[in-house]
């Protein structure tokens, strides 16, 4: 199935984020018939724009990730921007993040500007940066505007 990814971009404001329809997200449409996912293994690195439905990152990614579900595994390193519904961090993320659910697990380390709806940080997880809960306060919109 051919997907049109070139027009995909990260929403620039609160309204665009809320209006983003993950059901119409091309990889999600393609995924209705089969379970597609992308693994970036520990020996691999990617630079640029990564668009996928679900991704498990064991290696390194630098750039923009647009995906419904992103898991940065223990050996994984991501730098750049992540736009997703769920982000699970067990490795290292130095990125600006817009997501619905953020879960920092194990030894996960997250640094950046984070816009989230829900966050969960477990025992040894480390976070640094600016956090704002989406869809709530004007302060949250300011963080998004400052990206």
């Amino acid at each position: 199935m051919k997907c049109e990814f070139s027009s995909l971009r990260v929403p620039e404001n609160e309204e665009e984020v809320d209006a983003f329809d993950w059901k119409s997200f091309p990889p999600a449409i393609a995924n209705r018939k089969s379970n597609f996912f992308l693994i970036v293994d520990a020996a691999s690195g990617l630079s640029g724009k990564l668009v996928t439905w679900t991704t498990f990152i064991h290696g390194q990614v630098e750039g923009l990730i647009i995906a419904e579900h992103v898991t940065v595994e223990e050996s994984g390193i991501v730098k750049g921007v992540i736009f997703c519904r769920t982000l699970t961090v067990l490795g290292r993320v130095d990125a600006d993040v817009i997501c619905d659910t953020l879960h920092v697990r194990g030894q996960g380390v997250l640094t950046g500007v984070v816009k989230h709806k829900q966050v969960k940080i477990e025992g040894d997880g480390l976070v640094t940066g600016k956090f704002a809960r989406r869809g709530r306060s004007p302060a949250g919109r300011a963080v998004l505007a400052g990206r």
Binding site: G63, D96, T111, V119, V127, K130, F131
Partner: protein, 134 residues
């Protein structure tokens, strides 16, 4: 205060009950439990904010467990636990953090000490990476 035998000592402890409002600078040798409202500067070993509790101002503690709301500046030298009903907004410094699902955290967050091998990138570096990705 004389504690009954078998009861945990409450020496050096501050309780701000529900419906009580306290403003000012307070130094608490042991635990500060806030179920009411506190505004000002608070130094304590432990801060416990109950579900209806509201704390704002300059807060500096060793450990904190938040079920209510904390605003402005919160420094936790050791462990910060944000429960599902809790909310923290403002500038937060911590050594260890645990956030339950449903807990609300917003503002500027920094670690007081970094784990070995953790990244040392500054916010500027992160933003630079962001710009480079576009």
């Amino acid at each position: 205060m004389i504690d009954k035998p078998g009861e945990k000592s409450s020496e050096g402890t501050l309780f701000i009950g529900a419906g009580v409002e306290l403003k000012g600078d307070v130094e608490v040798p042991a635990a500060a439990q806030v179920d009411g409202k506190f505004e000002g500067t608070l130094k304590a070993k432990t801060l416990i904010v109950g579900q209806g509790g509201h704390v704002s101002g300059q807060i500096s503690v060793e450990t904190a467990e938040i079920r209510g709301m904390v605003e402005d500046h919160l420094t936790v030298k050791n462990r910060l636990v944000l429960r599902s009903s809790g909310s923290i907004a403002g500038t937060i410094s911590y050594s260890k953090i645990m956030v339950e699902e449903g807990g609300s955290i917003s503002g500027s967050i920094e670690m007081m000490s970094r784990a070995a091998g953790a990244p040392v990138e500054t916010e500027a570096k992160v933003l630079q990476l962001h710009q480079g990705a576009e």
